[in-house]
């Protein structure tokens, strides 16, 4: 489980330290009103996760309700096109169309176990909102989803799905009216309703214990992939990174394995040099966002900068603290892909494999295509975190089709 970094061995952390940190990152920068609930949640989650009954219930739901295991698909046509052997972890085939359901189901049954009656969530692309609305409908809990007005416009299909599932979708107009602002609003709701409500954060972000808990519910992606590989080795594991839940779920089980290169793909938006991007690790600096110390986009006085990405799910000026730890220790490396390159990724996967990926996941595909020369002859495992139905209007408008 070690990897050499500057002569020192870096270890992945099974769980964050007493202060909820992964190395220098993480922690609990939250209003006092929430602190007792966060500490209680850390204990409740630890208890549940150590309870074989709870874990069995979680895995049973993943299997029979969300359709796991998701396939590991050898993308032969894409492999031919890129000259590298590409394996796709098909999270897009999970119920509701993305990996988000793993975490939503896990947290929803934890909320039920701890006696909460109401679920709230933020959503960017709408995938986490749909997953939470689904888990709420299944568990019979009330559900409110906060979503930026800009994202409501660009992901209208998912808004309709959430409403169909009985969730109340609340538009957020503050700031850039995107994911960051939706997180702020969900936090504000939670400060008011913490006694009855559980906040299902959708990514591996937020104050402790969320980054750890979300990673544990998502690590099924990497654990399952390792089983499905049946001993075959992979050279590179690739996933897109906004807040980074699909990536940490895929990376964690592989982290520190000899010879495996973990690559997180951030959104370069219009290009890193334009300043209009979502590359918190690639072009940000350490700061405190949404309750955790992590890499983020900010100015010299610590004001949070607006991110940009064509993909609502990557349009976020921070990243999960465990990714910040992975980046500093060299457990993973982080690259970026522009809006235009991501659109190319959608096109490429659609044509070669007959799979329309979400714009988020298309960043990972596009990186493989872009770096194909260096990846020649290698085996590359790509986490295809979601399907692209939600993005059709956007993609059609950009490509001039439809």
């Amino acid at each position: 489980m070690t990897t050499a970094v500057g002569g020192r061995a870096a270890l992945r952390m099974d769980r964050p330290d007493e202060q909820g940190r992964f190395g220098d990152y993480g922690g609990m920068f939250a209003p006092e009103t929430l602190m007792p609930a966060l500490q209680r949640l850390a204990t409740d989650f630890a208890d549940a996760w150590a309870d074989s009954g709870f874990v069995a219930h979680f895995h049973d739901l993943l299997e029979k309700y969300t359709g796991r295991p998701t396939p590991l698909h050898a993308a032969d046509h894409l492999s031919e096109e890129t000259g590298t052997r590409v394996l796709l972890k098909r999270e897009d085939l999970a119920h509701t169309g993305a990996h988000k359901i793993n975490n939503a189901i896990g947290q929803a049954i934890l909320a039920t176990r701890t006696g909460k009656t109401r679920l709230i969530a933020e959503t960017g692309a709408g995938q986490h909102g749909v997953a939470t609305a689904t888990a709420a409908a299944y568990t019979g809990l009330e559900c409110v989803v906060y979503m930026g007005e800009k994202d409501i416009e660009r992901q209208s299909l998912n808004v309709q799905r959430m409403r169909m599932l009985g969730a109340d979708v609340v538009p957020v107009s503050a700031g850039a009216a995107t994911l960051k602002d939706a997180v702020n609003e969900a936090m504000r709701d939670w400060v008011r309703t913490v006694e009855t409500t559980h906040y299902i954060i959708g990514s591996a972000v937020g104050p402790h214990p969320f980054p750890w808990m979300v990673r544990e519910f998502q690590r099924i992606i990497g654990d399952e992939s390792i089983r499905q590989l049946e001993g075959e080795s992979v050279d590179v594991v690739v996933a897109c990174v906004g807040g980074g839940s699909n990536a940490i779920g895929m990376f964690y089980p592989f982290a520190g394995r000899d010879g495996v290169d973990l690559v997180g793909v951030e959104a370069a938006g219009h290009g890193i040099r334009t300043g209009r991007h979502g590359a918190s690790i690639g072009a940000g600096s350490p700061g405190i966002l949404h309750g955790a110390r992590t890499y983020m986009l900010q100015d010299d006085e610590g004001q949070v900068l607006e991110a940009h990405s064509i993909s609502a799910g990557l349009d976020y000026p921070g990243v999960g603290p465990e990714h910040a730890y992975f980046a500093d220790t060299g457990l993973a490396r982080y690259v970026s892909i522009t809006d235009e390159e991501a659109l190319g990724g959608v096109d490429l996967l659609s044509r070669t494999e007959g799979i329309i990926p979400a714009l988020e996941s298309a960043h990972a595909i596009a990186w493989v295509a872009k770096d194909a020369a260096r990846l020649a002859g290698k085996t590359v495992l790509v986490n295809l975190s979601g399907r692209g139905d939600k993005d059709m209007d956007m993609i059609a408008a950009k490509a001039g089709i439809g």
């Binding site: 939250a30 209003p31 008011r192 900010q298």
Partner: protein, 264 residues
């Protein structure tokens, strides 16, 4: 002014058997050129100390009124440096102990030492950092000690007694009692939370107790006055700064009626 300014204030109000009034205003409101005048008007109306809000892009603990105020102040060019400058001019003009209110990210962006040194240089008596709980407070508390200013710690209706004891043991310049669940903003009703919390804090410590969040009217302030050393009102004043055609007159009037309610 150092932390002493606040220590003296609470010693004095206790000796006089009254409750201090600490209004909050976002630096840069009602407009960049009238913000100091606004604080002076509140001082003239009887305010005892000030909370100068340094506008932050992502005020997680604030409701719509202060969110809009922060965004407007930033749009109109207010910065961290500008906020400290407002604080300096307010202290010079009024002589009242004043606290800078901010969020954790700007503090750690500058570094706790640099941030508290700049606050102290501007004449601040203390810092209020909305998303800095006990567990993360140590580096900032130590930096404040070195700069001779006070750090405020929060206690909420959800805070357990055992935790209250640890908060009190940190000897903050005062405990900011969060009166109501939720973010800052005006509320029509007052719950039982503030009185219950005040009693629980009083049973544990003699550290000064100041309450805010959800207190906006003279009636609400008066109801809590017997239980606390000070009252903070923010959104009700900031709303006037944002909306009133005569903001400074209205803010002064509102301040006067709150001060009157506390001295009854």
């Amino acid at each position: 002014m150092s932390r002493r300014g606040l220590d003296d204030l609470f010693a004095r109000v206790r000796a006089e058997g009254r409750t201090a009034f600490l209004p909050f205003m976002t630096a840069g409101l009602p407009s960049p050129d009238r913000t100091v005048e606004c604080f002076e008007a509140m001082a003239d109306a009887g305010a005892d100390a000030f909370e100068v809000g340094i506008p932050y892009s992502d005020p997680m603990m604030d409701g719509p009124t202060i969110q809009v105020a922060s965004a407007r102040a930033i749009e109109q060019g207010m910065t961290l440096k500008g906020g400290f400058d407002v604080l300096r001019r307010v202290v010079e003009a009024t002589g009242k102990p004043s606290l800078a209110m901010s969020y954790a990210n700007p503090v750690f962006r500058l570094g706790p030492d640099e941030f508290s040194r700049r606050a102290a240089d501007a004449g601040a008596a203390g810092l209020i950092i909305a998303d800095l709980p006990l567990e993360e407070a140590a580096p900032v508390a130590e930096a404040c000690d070195r700069s001779g200013i006070g750090l405020v710690l929060f206690a909420a209706p959800t805070t357990q007694d055992e935790r209250l004891e640890r908060i009190a043991a940190r000897a903050p310049v005062f405990i900011y009692g969060v009166a109501e669940l939720g973010v800052t903003g005006e509320r029509d009703e007052q719950s039982d939370h503030p009185r219950t919390l005040a009693a629980r804090i009083r049973a544990i410590t003699r550290v000064p107790l100041v309450m805010g969040v959800g207190i906006s009217t003279p009636v609400q302030a008066e109801a809590l006055a017997p239980y606390v050393d000070g009252i903070i009102v923010g959104s009700a004043l900031v709303r006037r700064a944002l909306q009133s055609p005569r903001p400074i007159t209205d803010i002064a009037e509102a301040t006067r009626s709150l001060v009157d309610a506390l001295s009854e």
